[in-house]
């Protein structure tokens, strides 16, 4: 259980460059396909759809010609101090494995949705309907990702099955599975991003790009002051974008340069 910040030797994380993201949605599609998310019954009803990876549109709210937008992909932020973990009454979610990924055990979840109430990022999704795949499409399911029944909560796991593949591959090759090289393990969304806006790696490893990027003055985390310590960083040279990463009172200044 995490009531305090739990430290890990390996901390898988992401840095998303919002100045590069075009909002194309490829990450969302990749995530849906990779993680066996069934096509929604009514895709127009966004408040019932399952989007482990969701792209938000940010706006500087200035009139033309100063108008500017940015797109913010939002996976589960794998908080260092996740609020969802201590509230779960049945330990269906936890943060205990090296790598610091917040797990979700579908077979344990009772569907009370307290974790959804606790998450300020809306990163957790409830299965409102039975998952149904059109005939033939079931052949495209990822074999190592369990499908979820109606009535349980699910979330992005940084494609944890890919982590398992990478560790197995390292073992077969005689390498240390706890010392993966950069690029050995990346989630589907990162692999699919056409602009290279998403970078993935070990935040604790100085040899990984994310380590350096996360230390940049242009890097920020969503709702930093709530102290959830996300393992997903955003990056932007635009001050108004950084400012929208958190709530700021009028007299407060945003971090960065």
């Amino acid at each position: 259980m995490v009531l305090y910040l739990k430290e890990f030797k390996i901390k898988w994380g992401m840095v998303i460059d919002l100045d590069r993201c075009t909002g194309c949605g490829a990450c969302m599609v990749a995530c849906q396909a990779e993680n066996n998310i069934a096509p929604p019954v009514d895709a127009s009803d966004k408040r019932y759809s399952l989007t482990w990876m969701l792209v938000y549109q940010l706006s500087n709210k200035q009139p033309y010609p100063n108008h500017d937008v940015a797109y913010m992909p939002r996976p589960c932020l794998q908080c260092g101090k996740p609020n969802c973990v201590p509230v779960c009454p049945v330990i269906a979610t936890d943060k205990n494995q090296e790598g610091g990924i917040v797990s979700q055990v579908n077979a344990r979840c009772i569907g009370c949705r307290y974790c959804m109430a606790a998450c300020p990022y809306h990163a957790r999704y409830f299965n409102w309907q039975d998952p149904v795949w059109p005939e033939g499409m079931e052949k495209t399911l990822t074999p190592d990702v369990s499908t979820r029944p109606r009535g349980v909560v699910e979330k992005c796991l940084f494609c944890h099955h890919r982590y398992m593949y990478a560790r197995d591959k390292a073992r077969i090759e005689g390498r240390d599975p706890n010392a993966l090289n950069e690029g050995d393990y990346i989630p589907a969304c990162v692999e699919m991003c056409p602009t290279g806006a998403m970078v993935f790696g070990d935040l604790e490893n100085p040899e990984h790009k994310v380590h350096k990027l996360s230390k940049s003055p242009y890097a920020f985390r969503l709702l930093e002051r709530l102290n959830t310590k996300p393992q997903v960083y955003y990056y932007s040279k635009r001050e108004w974008v950084r400012k929208q990463g958190d709530n700021y009172l009028e007299h407060e200044t945003v971090g960065g340069v």
């Binding site: 201590p86 330990i91 344990r108 990022y121 709530n247 009172l249």
Partner: protein, 411 residues
Amino acid sequence: MSDKELWPEGVQRCSLKLFIAWLAVIFAVLAWGVYAAYVVWAGGLIVTGMDNYFAFGLYIIFDLAVIALGAGAFFSGLLYYLVRVEGLKNIINLAVIIGFICYSGALLILTLEVGQPLRAWFGFWHPNVHSMLTEVIFCITCYMLVLTIEFIPIILENRKLNKIKFLHHMAHNFHVIMPLFAGVGAFLSFFHQGSLGGMYGVLFSRPYAFREGFFIWPWTFFLFILSAVASGPGFTMLVATLMEKMTGRKLVDFSVKALMGKISGTMLAIYLVFKYLDTWAWATGILPRSGLTFSEVFYGVAYGKWLLFSELVVFGLFPAVLLLYSKTRNTPWILYSACTMVGIGVIINRYVQTAQTLAHPVMPFDRWYVYVPTWAEWAPSLAVIAYGALILSLAYRYLPVFPQERKLNQA
């Protein structure tokens, strides 16, 4: 045709025909609720107004409200059996029955609320000791058991059942050990009422609900206990009054009602002192620390500032004054109005803690949504009220619930 032999000794009841007609109305509402339950179980929670934004809805608001209003059972029990407030003897049976109805009704609604009802027992089998909800699951279930134990001797005192020697002795022995169960019940109820408040207070990333800690508990833990014990006794008294109006018979002496009102008023005043301090600390501490202003956490009519004003002043301070001042407290219509207002105040509190907490956009680029419950949420809630009416009707007709009834109705 009459069932007179089953009535408590020396009392009058309506004809069986009229009683059956009344039960038919109750069963009609119950049937609607049972149908809604079937629809929810068969079709899933998609038929409700809840969504990815509103993880909790009317089911939870209703549960929190009835559990608060049912607090008359544990608090009256505590005052009667342990503190020895003798006047409560005449209403304690009713308080226990209302508690039983409220808690069993809440548990029934909870079977609809969870996405996987068949896994509900996981709460006992795989408990997370850090979760406030685990504490709620354990305490509510155990307290439900205590309320059942407290209800049994009242059932066994039915005129016919009491003639069976074994049941007569059993009822007597249950009464003897009742202070023990009152104590256990008070302990359990104290914790789960608190944990229900704690459930919201620990949401450190939801600034509308989050509160600082007092030892290991956020102080919403204590606010929920105090608001429940402020509304519970008044609600019990109101139910007694409603039963009097419906049956046309005097059931409880007014002095007992005024005593319940006094308990409600006193506890409400204590609660309000802490609630005002809490609101001030929240508005000047937690909100600015989260980068929010007081105005930003209110929106439109559904989540407007009027709710806060209503909760703290109109349905808080105002009835507290009316109940503390003996002249107004001893005027029946003022007493009833004031206790009704206290109940409305606690319902508003449970509503905003649930719906507003979830509706408030924490991310700066997110937006407010308004939660609207569907019929599939209203129907089971109304059915629980009908279920309460059923238990109360049967209890009133066949069990000696009101010790004063005979004396008060002597011509």
